[in-house]
Symmetry: C2
Subunit: 417 residues, 2 copies
């Protein structure tokens, strides 16, 4: 086969794959009372991001989430609220290995499970608290597991590993180059992982840490080790939640869609915005979100809606309807910046009446209930070009901050450029 | 000695200690172009936080920062801007060990260094990218180093460590309980670390990773290993910068000082704020920042300044003068929330004149240049008690967000409750 054929072959997974996601941990190390897999990132639990990472992969047929009995209802509620479709929830055991084994047994009960799902050829085991795993890496793990029986992610060691004496002194340090950290995901053929667990002792179930080790010990299967990206890291401490949130917010802040309503003044402003480097986002410009532009709605998380010389909220309301119809806000809060652009020089542009401000605030409060965050921004179109350039810069600076932060507390505020 | 004497003894370090901070790294792993020790957290480079962690410890006499030759000017600029007093900057070598050795040699040149500084008994070596090291742990390291010749921080392993075959398959996994990750800080008596480097080979200087290993190999000194807290972690990836920023922002958001100007309405509002759970901060109340209350200025990073029924900026301006005199804003941006509290029911409270808004914005823009972030918040004192309760909640929600985010982009905005 030619080079491009081989590349295609490497990219495809043409056998059934299911996922087991043990999520029974109690999260002691985060210093939080909520187990870390259930901690909220921008209004959604961490585990929902991890589930989403698998659901968007077309060749993965199902995800079994294993949770503590007392979390079954909470998990079922998450599945419904965030509209997960490939998931089944099963109760966990007293240890990690018992939980994983419960998940694998559930995969064997083909009946009563998801429609069109069959017993998997390969099972991928992952941590609920590693939400940023990507399809290209899952392909490598799934294919290596099918070929070798078992496969696992590794990373270089970040610290020197040392052996200590029983009195707490340095005995010796290991040569870093010879060792690796074992991470997740790992993959196994269904037969190998079943056999390994069937042959495991009670001691293994209670104290063992590595599935790879069980496959080696009980099936003689030496796992293929594949170096994964740094994004595979495990959310362990409270600070890791902040790091994860920052990654999610980065991903949501890559572009914005300016809706001009067809106005020339708004289009000119959008053009100036596209030239600004201060915004740090791609800027797409459309007249509205109907018909041909509706595909924009499905890719965007940020919208700038320009209203020229009129504090009229009808265009804002109709845009909100379009966004609601798209179902975009289920997984991430949307940001809508409503720009009130005035082209006359009368000073009243800054002071709005109480009734006007209240009408805007009411629309914003209502949209917030549906995970859509509206902020207002008053922008006078000055004639002086240097003054206008500064206004566009300031607009870009404020917009970047609003889009990046996605603050619920500041929803409905009418800001000034 | 009694138990309290022993406790006191454990807490004290009565011998000279200096620090070497190698900061020559290039930060390839962060995915950023700036080396990570120079990356900005809330407007200040990471390394300045690390220096601050040592400067605030009374028994540490000096910190030698070792940087790449091309960063000497940048580092000198940081020292001046952030008013570091115990620091000397020296150029690094081509490897980490050569840089550390340069730093130790600089400590030996007592002449021309800091006043009152002597040759140290113990040298602490730390990473510039571990900013959250605390005094209690430094005491343990310094005392153990003096007693045993060498001491180092360790942490439990976060992942299973595995050995791989040359073909990339699992060979065996290490028993986790027997091994530890070696971290920083480490401490050595001056004599031991000098002897170890004097006996080191060129190969050690070029490829060695662990000072502890050199002390063992060349001086027969087996380091005392001490388990450190998770906060010792090393800022390595871009996501770690977000985690570090979140820790800094948490520390800056623990309390706020309400300045009432002595008004009864403002005092009543401050009392309501103290009862709100939504604020997540301690609330201290003072009439002004003069005389007896000036000590508050030196501990607070957040201020709420209440102006009753008057859009008069003079109290704001005088508070800014007090803050500037305190020099508080050198290390962290201060937040000042200027509350315009209206007790009449006339609707004009929402619409301010252009001139008023501009005067406020100008004061805020000027203060921003001195690292003080002013936001305005209009708050009508409604008669209806349920309505007022909701207003206080909303105020608390917005204030928490402003204090937590410390946004430069939103400075000078006049928000509505
Ligand atoms: Mg990944
Ligand atoms: Mg610490």
């Amino acid at each position: 086969p030619g080079q491009s054929d081989r590349r295609l072959e490497e990219l495809s997974v043409d056998f059934p794959v299911s996922v087991v996601l043990p999520a029974g941990g109690t999260g002691e190390r985060t210093g939080l009372t909520t187990p870390k897999q259930f901690c909220s990132l921008s209004g959604r639990p961490l585990i929902s991001y991890t589930i989403q990472a698998f659901e968007r992969v077309s060749w993965i047929q199902s995800v079994v989430v294993v949770v503590a009995k007392e979390s079954m209802d909470l998990m079922a509620d998450f599945i419904q609220r965030f509209q997960h479709r490939k998931v089944r929830v099963v109760p966990g055991g007293t240890t990690r290995h018992r939980s994983i084994w419960n998940g694998i047994l559930a995969l064997g009960e083909v009946e009563g499970f998801l429609p069109n799902s069959v017993r998997p050829k390969v099972v991928i085991i992952h941590d609920a608290v590693r939400p940023f795993v990507e399809e290209d890496f899952l392909i490598k793990i799934a294919r290596a597991a099918k070929e070798h029986g078992a496969a696992g992610a590794i990373r270089p060691l970040v610290s020197t590993v040392i052996a200590t004496t029983s009195e707490g002194f340095l005995d010796h340090s290991l040569e870093r180059a010879k060792y690796r950290a074992s991470e997740m995901p790992q993959g196994f053929t269904y037969d190998i992982i079943c056999q390994a667990y069937q042959r495991s002792s009670e001691y293994d179930f209670d104290f063992g840490t590595e599935c790879l080790h069980l496959a080696l010990q009980y099936c003689g299967t030496s796992a293929k080790l594949i170096e994964g990206p740094p994004s595979l890291w495990k959310v362990t401490y409270k600070r890791d939640l902040a790091a994860a949130e920052s990654i999610v917010k980065d991903a949501l802040s890559k572009s914005t869609c300016v809706v001009t309503g067809g106005s020339a003044a708004a289009e000119s402003f959008a053009g100036d915005l596209q030239k600004t480097t201060e915004l740090n986002m791609e800027v797409h410009v459309v007249p509205d979100l109907n018909r041909d532009n509706s595909s924009k709605v499905l890719k965007e998380f940020n919208f700038i809606l320009v209203s020229v010389n009129s504090f009229d909220l009808s265009a804002l309301k109709s845009t909100l309807k379009d966004l609601e119809a798209s179902n975009q806000a289920v997984l991430h809060p949307l940001v809508v910046i409503w720009v009130y652009l005035t082209t006359s020089d009368e000073p009243s542009c800054i002071s709005r009446t109480t009734a006007e401000v209240k009408a805007f605030t009411d629309v914003a409060s209502e949209a917030k209930l549906r995970n859509t965050l509206i902020y207002g921004l008053q922008l006078p179109r000055t004639q002086d070009s240097e003054c206008w350039r500064r206004s566009v810069l300031k607009f870009a600076e404020i917009t970047s901050a609003l889009v990046r932060e996605r603050s619920f507390a500041l929803v409905g505020q009418l800001l000034q450029v």
